[in-house]
Structures are given as C-alpha cells and as structure tokens.
Amino acid sequence: MSGEVSKLIRESRIIVCCGAGGVGKTTTSGAIAIAGARMGRRVLVLTIDPSKRLAEALGVERNPPAPVTLPADRLQAVGIQAPGTLDAWMLDPKLIADQEVRAIVKNPEDIEKLLSNRIYKHVTTMVAGMHEYTAMQALHRFVLSGRYDLVVLDTPPSRHALDFLEAPSRLSRFLDGRVFKMFMPAETTGGLRRAAGSLVSRVLGGVLGEQFAGDLSVFFGVFAGVLGTLNRDVSGMRDFLSKPDVAFLLVTSPAPAALEEALFFQRKTDELKLPFRGFVLNRSHAYDYGRKFPETALLIGHSIARTTAEKLQNLAESEKDLIGRDQELVKDLARRAGVGGFATALPVLLPNETEMRKLETLADQFKGA
C-alpha cells in the first residue's frame, strides 16, 4: 500500500494535499516533501498556515519573500542527499499579489497607486478566495520555473474544503470585465453602459460615501490592466491541474466529520475531473507495533494492584478497538478510492517529539517497498 504512495512521490510533478481543517495537512505535506527529496528529487513545499513550530522546522518562520532552501546539515539530518533538495515557502497572499502587480503593471506610478490603495490592501489580506488564488498562482509559477521536480501544495484551511478548487472561478467572477468596465471613463463605453454607470455611481456615492467610491474607482481603474493577464491565468489553471503528473491526495483523520468531508471532497474532484489519486488516513491507530495486551498475570508480576490493572486493561481494550477500527477504515477507503486509487495510513505521533522528528517518522512511511 505504501508502494503506491512512494511511486506517486517519485513520479508526480505536483502533489496537492486537500482535506478538512485540523487533519494534519501541513504535516503530511512536509513528510511527502522529505520523502521526495530523499529520492533525489528537487522538492518545494508550499504551505499556507503552518504552526509556529512546524514553520521553524522548515525554516520559514520569518515569512521570507522567496522559497528557503533547507541548509545542508538539516538535509543530512533527515536523510536527504544530493541531488535531492528541499525548499519551503509560506504563502503570503499580499506578497504574491504585490509581486504579480509589479510583474504585470508597466507604469510605476500606477503600481504605487494600486499598492497603496486601501481597498487593494484589504482585498489582498482579507477577502476570501485570495489565499486560494495566490496559492494557485505560486504553484503555477514555481512549476513553470523548472527549478523543481516536485511541488507539494498544502491547501488553505477552509470550512469548504472545495474553496480551493473553486477559487479560480470565483476570482474570475470577481475580476469579471463587466464589473470593471462600469468604472472605466464614460467616453469609452456605450450609452447603455453610461446609464448603468451613472446609476452605479449614484448608488455608490449615496450608499458608500464619496470617499469609498473614489477608492473603488482607482482600484478598479488600475486593476483593469492586471485583469487580462489574471483572467487568462485563471482559466489556464484548471487545465494545468488536470494533467497526468498531478496528484490530488485527500488527507483525513479518523474523526467521522473529517471522513464525511473527505468523501464529499472525493465526489467533487470526480465532478471537476481533477486527478484524485488516494486517501491518507492521518493520525490513525492502524499500526499495532506489536503491542501486547497487559494481561493480569503480567501486571501482578510487576506488583501492580488488581484495581489498577483493571483500569489499564480498560484503556488497552479501547486501544485494541481503535486499531481494529482504523485498519478497517483504511480498507474501506481503499475500496472507495476505486481503480487506480489507494489509501494509506499514517500513525498518531507522540506529542513530545520535535516537529522535524515527526516529519521524518511520517516520511519513513512513504519509503515504499
């Protein structure tokens, strides 16, 4: 079962890890990246919202402007040897959007006008969909750069796990030319448009106040130049993600709510014709590690009181049940993954291990046969 994951890590160009919040997507992405680099690939892991400790482990805690290469000693420590490399980057929507604007807008005055526009700042930091859009943008850019053999994308945490996939269409609606044109100078548009435009400016002036309407018009005015390029990118994204060297992995925990969301998500990738490849059951108890049941005789031999022994045996019973449950769960997920899909389990890790040690332990699971 891990043979399939390891083949995927060896051969894919892009691996997208999706799933509900709190299932350990970032940790799984990091482990996949380490496994890929150990195979001698040049790997980039794009994370969204890593915990402080994980960001420190990957060397991205200071929100760097470009991907950070893990230093040689750290690579060696986790078993990565040349030509394998591991870069990490934390996606910052504002930073990526600024970079896009600078790349696309020609007039330096316009660049400054837009970058200092209050609405622009608000859009790039707070508006839903921007995270997702910039993630796609960065993914696209790094894959095309040819600097990496494999890019692992940790998707944004969202209640709707699918926001990530639908962000392009939402952004394209947001960037819809018709909305922008209403803010363009009247002489460039027809009579009907002028009428609509004047209604809009009356409503905006009256409802939002002149100041906001003014900001809005600068925002849309300058952003219109960026529009053509962005729209083209957005429509190209779906094709880009449908290629055979792209793999969507669905990360879930054994919690019923996370599982239900994972299955829902699988249906969705089917609908969108995206290359779903398998499930990763994270934080599972599917491995028994040869643990033995604490029999009464054994415990009494250690001079443990009978009442204490009973309490421990209750816990051991529930652990045994969990192991059985999760082993069944992986089988069930494998069935649901269908032909060509797989399901693999990752173990629950002890809380007192360091983040890097956790990533390594999980990466070991992807070694393959």
Partner: protein
C-alpha cells in the same frame, strides 16, 4: 448550570471560533440546545457564501448536519424546539441593506434589479463582509410587538480564526474607508453591539493538547488587538484520568521496562494522553486571563454528543467531573 455558561447566555450575540478538528460545530449546537432548554429564543447562524443557489449546494456544513439538515435555512426557521437557524448570506444582506436605504422610489427598485449592481456587490472587495454583517445586524434588531428581541441569543459558528478576526475587525477597517453614509451608520450600530462585553463575546473552542492550546493562546493575543470582547475559552473533550499519582508512578516503570525489552504494551498511549491533557489544561488555565469552560469527554457509546454536551453545560456536576483534582 455551569457558572460560565450563565454568563454566556446573558449575551445577545456569541461568536464561536476555533481551529478545525476541535469540535467547534458540536459545541455550537450544544450551546444552542442548552440555551433553548434554559428558556432562551436562540438563533444559530453560520456564514454562507455569496454564490448562487446552484453552487451553494456544494458547500458542506457540519453544523447543519448536527440538526439533520444539509444547510441551515436561508430564511430564519425553527430547526429544533426553541432553536432557529439561518445562514448569513452576503447577497441577502445587500438586499436588506439596499431596501433599508432606498425605502421608496425608483432608485431602490432599479438598484435591486440592476444585474450590474448585484454583481458589483457580490464581487467588490469588503462588500461581501458588509452583507454578512448586515444580515447579523438585521437579526439583532428584530423585535416582537412587545418590544422584546425576537432573537434573544444569536450564536454564530465562525469557521476559521481568520474569519473571526475579519468579521470582528471589519467595522474598524471599513469605517476607516467609509466614514459617512448609510453603511457607516450600519457599521457603527453593529459595532455598538460587538464591542460591548455585556452584549457580545467571542468564545474559542480548543482541546487539551499541545498544539491546540498553543494556538489558542496565540489567538487570544490576536483578539486583544480588536475591540471584540472575549467571553472565554471552551476546553472540549476533557478526559478524566483514572489513575492516582501512586498508580501512575508504578505503571510508568512497567511501561519503561517493556519498551526496553521491545515488548510495548497496549494502554500506554492512552496513559500518556491523560498526562498531556492534564499538563495542557493546566498550562491553558495558567496562561489565559478569560474564563475557562471545561466540557467532559463523552462516555463510550454515547448516542448524541450534542445532547450530552448540552447536559454538561446545564449541570454543575459536569464542572466537577472536568475540573482538575
């Protein structure tokens, strides 16, 4: 009744936040159920999307599932005795807003029927949040004929931490952009509810585990920079350690010797989990300055988690069960 819960149900509006996987939806539903049992007219709400109906059916709502629904209703409807539900939709908020601004006249009609304007409201930055905000404000304002509020307690399930900060920080940011006009007025009115600790509070749901506790402490720091009052932290899944200190010491030795021999034992993992849970709840209690509500772990085979949690909120026995000894 839990003392801290008494404080919660005195508010008009409560925002429930917390990272994925901590049981936020179950806690939200349990608070709604418990408040209804305590005699409150409760409205439970979640934030919907600005998209059209066709796309909205792809959304996934764990909260609505707990009430046996796919989604919370678009228009307020009773989803359980004493509990009403509603999805806060930006588009709906825009309609309500425009209708209130242009009470009569051609402009209101034209505005509401202008496809271009609708699209603009859906697409333009910040206006999505304004729509959600206006929905919330409308529910806060609704009154019975005798003048008492229709929605005595509004509970909002806030999906991600970022959203909470966005919504609670919204009035301040928008007012810096829009200082006059009807939107500004609505924002100020909303602010007067959200910034008043007697009327509004945010509650953070978390687990007694290392990472969730660290993240909660960070979030509380972040909330300090907004004017949003924090009502407390809800510690979910508080398990009761069955062992005495004496027993723990003895068992620790047994586990160590078996690990050394390469024959680890079942039960050790749970044994360590209790240790982590105790250490982390103590750390949380020490580091935060807001009230801490402890919700006990449901017993195995518990049929309705929501109902169990609601019972815990309403009985003071649960506090003792969850409290450290």
């Amino acid at each position: 009744m839990l003392e801290q819960f008494e404080g919660l149900i005195k508010k008009r509006i409560v925002l429930i936040t917390g990272k994925g996987g901590v049981g936020r939806s179950s806690v939200t539903a349990a608070i709604a159920m418990a408040a209804a049992r305590a005699g409150k007219r409760v409205l439970v709400a979640e934030i919907g999307d600005g998209r059209d109906n066709e796309q909205r059916i792809h959304d996934y709502s764990p909260l609505a599932r707990l009430f046996g629904l796919d989604h919370l209703p678009e228009n307020k409807a009773e989803i359980m005795p004493g509990v009403w539900g509603s999805m806060l939709l930006p588009l709906k908020g825009h309609e309500l807003f425009l209708a209130s601004v242009f009470r009569v006249g051609a402009l209101a009609k034209a505005a509401l029927h202008s496809e271009a304007l609708r699209r603009l409201f859906q697409a333009a930055p910040s206006l999505r949040e304004v729509g959600i905000f206006y929905c919330l404000l409308t529910y806060l304002r609704q009154k019975h004929t005798d003048g008492t509020p229709s929605n005595e307690l509004i509970i909002v399930d806030m999906p991600a931490t970022g959203h909470t900060l966005a919504l609670t920080g919204l009035p301040k940011i928008l007012l810096s952009m829009v200082s006059r006009g009807p939107i500004a007025d609505a924002l100020r009115e909303g602010q007067s509810y959200l910034n008043d600790p007697d009327q509004a509070s945010a509650y953070v749901v978390t687990l007694p585990e290392t990472l969730p506790v660290s993240e909660t402490i960070e979030l509380l720091e972040g909330l300090k920079n907004t004017n949003m009052p924090v009502g407390g932290v809800i510690l979910n899944h508080v398990a009761q350690d069955p062992f005495t200190t004496e027993e723990r010491l003895r068992l620790e030795k047994v586990f160590a010797s078996h690990r050394a021999q390469g024959t680890p034992l079942l039960g050790e993992e749970s044994f360590h989990y209790f240790e982590e849970a105790r250490r982390e709840s103590e750390r949380l209690a020490r580091e935060i300055s807001v009230p801490l509500l402890r919700l006990p772990d449901a017993p195995p085979g518990c049929e309705s988690l929501v109902s169990f949690l609601a019972d815990s909120l309403l009985s003071s026995a649960a506090v003792r069960a969850g409290a450290p000894q």
